[in-house]
């Protein structure tokens, strides 16, 4: 039962407790500052310079907004990259995620060989990236690939800039839907069976039961799935990078950042400007999402 003693503020704590509390506040704060805010602010500041990653801080020269001007005007891959990121987000949202949810529902209903399907759909999530790149190379290669061998076509799946984004999206969907399926399956298993029974007794069809009863009950999972989809789409990088380092029709903002910052190029200033743009776009989307989530609560 609750104690009658009134809480008298921090003075009530012993010296040791105070230290513990202080550490519990200070250490995570420092970590967040060091690992999140400092790099973020550092990138923003660096985006106004032309630093090449070599030499001391004092050698950094400010170039004002030149990096941003260059990106918008004379850097050909930038606008395609923005467009591709938006397409990526849309496909994940409207195709990959619903597909994953559908798989979860089917597996949950217990079709024959459930375990087999469950495992094979989830497998792509577990595979290493190098292996995934290799698997799809075997399928998509123009001269030696499975797809062209079966269909007898000569489509250049990875090289034709009109096709390769969609080819990559198929691979991304393959991976993403398995992940969503697992998340959603866990949620479905947690739904109280009596709810479904009640709906059945009331004469609701399977579809109605799902959309009117199960789906609303699963709100927490739905939000998680939404957030995961969102984050995964904005971070989309790895698959495209294994395919062709994000060039020739597969430009994404994240690959442009990497091309400029990592590696021999070392255009740290220019790359930071791209990263800042990516940060700004993500912030807008995160802001909208938070508004919606908060309002519903």
């Amino acid at each position: 039962m609750a104690s009658k003693r009134r809480y008298r503020g921090i003075d009530q704590l012993s010296a040791r407790d105070k230290i513990v509390v202080a550490l519990m506040v200070v250490v995570p704060t420092l970590l967040v500052l060091w690992l999140v805010w400092l790099p973020a602010i550092g990138s923003v500041l660096l985006s106004f310079t032309n630093w090449d990653g070599i030499g001391p801080l004092s050698g950094i020269k400010s170039v004002g907004l030149q990096n941003y001007r260059d990106i918008a005007t004379i850097y050909p891959p930038f606008w395609p990259a923005i467009q591709h990121n938006l397409i990526w987000l849309a496909v994940m949202f409207f195709i990959a995620t619903p597909l994953g949810m559908l798989f979860a529902i089917l597996v949950d209903r217990g079709v024959a060989g459930t375990r087999f399907y469950q495992t094979s759909i989830y497998l792509p999530v577990v595979l290493s990236l190098a292996l995934i790149g290799f698997i799809w190379q075997l399928i998509y290669s123009r001269d030696q690939g499975l797809l062209n061998a079966i269909t007898g076509g000569t489509t250049d799946w990875y090289g034709d800039p009109d096709v390769n984004l969609w080819a990559a999206l198929v691979a991304a969907t393959w991976r993403h839907s398995g992940y969503i399926m697992l998340l959603y399956l866990a949620g479905l298993k947690g739904v109280d069976p009596s709810l479904r029974e009640a709906a059945k007794i009331d004469g609701a069809s399977e579809t109605t039961t799902f959309f009117r009863v199960v789906f609303p009950v699963m709100r927490p999972i739905n939000i998680i799935v939404l957030v995961v989809t969102f984050i995964e789409s904005l971070r989309a990088f790895d698959l495209v990078w294994v395919i062709n380092k994000g060039r020739n029709g597969l430009e994404l903002i994240s690959t442009l950042v990497t091309q400029n910052v990592v590696g021999e190029a070392s255009r740290i200033g220019f790359g930071s400007a791209l990263a800042t743009i990516m940060l700004a776009i993500s912030s807008v989307l995160v802001f909208i999402y938070l508004r919606i989530a908060m309002k519903e609560d």
Binding site: P39, I54, K61, Y140, D156
Partner: protein
């Protein structure tokens, strides 16, 4: 960290990082987290840096000398081990410690590596990038080693020299870029090696009639097509223009550059189509399977051919003449070798090792593993060479001037972030040469101006 072996080394470590400078930058990188954020980071091994004596020791050297190697494939790795072991044997009391890093990671992390705690000696290439490191103070001056080097041509010495006139690089092996073909295919169909661009066009037309793709082509990775640009520019405009274009001294909107793209557009129909989805290995295999007739690539292409009869069937010729006033005496032959870091821990042993690397014995040990390259030292015994190696050696020797490769002859940021997308967009749409050159020029001005 290694344990300090003597008092001086111990005291050197007492210097706070802020004074030493190197570690402050490491700290800074951590703080900005750009590298860490993207998962590229610690490549450098642990170690401290302090100066040593100068001059190449004539007597015995002792201690441990560390070597950073990008030869990560099994066979070349064993070759590195072989000549390092031989060096160790010849200098008892010296231990060579090899840190092998994946080839691509090594190249991508080179900036961080050199600013952290690099090994005493490390693998690198000749050319603009080597000079850039020298200028930034990230490479050690080894002019005194060069004073004792014999058997290296002046061209090689020039390729090892920084902008300040001092030497920073020791060549080990090199290999030519040329037009490769299978002798059996040329014999069977009665093809002649083309001497001029017109010959090449005629030969290409004939090959098409015979159901072959005249020129194998793969540019999925972005860099192989740079080699074709280099070849055509060297034939259309010559060595001097090429070098100054690469150094950023010429405008890309210059009609001379447009002529290069125009010429290329003229022979592009001879190239294998859909090249942007094909790796160079796949393109090389099409040559190997006799589906295409020729391939403009470096001699490392031989790796896609099985050793023995199949490799013996491989032959090459220099890229045909385009302008008779320019000729064909410029050859692209990238040089691989070693450099010394700016502050090696064991300078005497490092210099002795570099000198050893310049000698025929070490180079021949390297060739044993990779027969697609040739030794740079003139005195190296060529009797064990394959036919392809012998021809490569003659071909390189006959050249009046030697270039490295686009991404070694110009700024790497320009090569990778501007030229790769630009050449790929040219391959997609060879019609808009004016627009392409204007776009390259605008980006070049921004990058070289900074």
């Amino acid at each position: 960290m290694t344990r300090p072996s003597n008092e001086a080394e111990y005291l050197a470590r007492m210097v706070p990082p802020s004074v030493r400078g190197v570690d402050r930058r490491t700290l800074l990188r951590g703080a900005l987290g750009v590298g860490a954020l993207l998962g590229a980071g610690g490549l450098a091994a642990c170690g401290s840096s302090d100066g040593g004596g100068t001059g190449v020791p004539t007597g015995a050297v002792t201690g441990t000398v560390t070597v950073g190697s990008n030869q990560s494939d099994a066979v070349p790795k064993a070759a590195v081990q072989a000549y390092m072991d031989a060096f160790q044997k010849a200098n008892s009391g010296t231990t060579v410690k090899i840190n092998t890093v994946d080839h691509n990671s090594f190249q991508e992390n080179i900036n961080n590596y050199l600013q952290g705690s690099p090994d005493d000696v490390f693998t690198w290439f000749a050319g603009y990038r080597m000079q850039f490191f020298a200028e930034k103070g990230l490479a050690g001056d080894i002019s005194d080693v060069w004073a004792n080097i014999t058997g290296m041509s002046d061209a090689l010495k020039k390729a090892s020299t920084g902008a300040d006139g001092k030497q920073y690089f020791v060549p080990m092996t090199n290999y030519p870029w040329a037009v490769f073909y299978r002798k059996s295919v040329f014999q069977e169909k009665g093809y002649e090696v083309p001497k001029t661009l017109d010959d090449l066009n005629a030969l290409g037309a004939q090959m098409k009639k015979d159901g072959l793709d005249p020129i194998a082509f793969g540019d999925k990775d972005g860099w192989p097509a740079m080699g074709t640009f280099d070849q055509i520019n060297l034939r259309v405009n010559g060595y001097d223009f090429h070098v100054s274009l690469m150094a950023g001294k010429e405008d890309w909107t210059n009609p001379k550059v447009k002529k290069v793209f125009d010429t290329w557009a003229g022979i592009l129909p001879l190239h294998q189509s859909d090249s942007l989805g094909r790796t160079w290995q796949e393109a090389a295999q099409s040559l190997q399977q006799k589906k295409s007739g020729m391939y403009v690539l470096g001699s490392f292409l031989a790796q896609q051919f099985t050793k023995g009869a199949e490799q013996d069937d491989l032959d090459f010729f220099g890229f045909p003449e385009i302008d008779s006033t320019i000729g064909t005496d410029a050859v692209e032959a990238p040089i691989d070798g070693y450099m010394m870091s700016a502050r090696p821990k064991n300078e005497p042993a490092a210099k002795k090792l570099l000198q050893y690397i310049s000698q025929p014995e070490a180079q021949l040990l390297a060739l044993k593993a990779d027969p697609s390259v040739i030794a740079t030292n003139d005195k190296a015994d060529t009797s064990g060479y394959t036919a392809l190696q012998k021809k490569s050696a003659e071909f390189v020797k006959s050249a009046k001037s030697i270039t490295q490769f686009m991404d070694r002859d110009t700024r790497p940021d320009f090569a990778s972030t501007v030229m790769i997308p630009a050449i790929q967009s040219f391959i997609k749409n060879p019609k808009d040469i004016d627009g392409l050159c204007t776009s390259i020029q605008a980006q070049k001005k921004s990058i070289f101006g900074s």
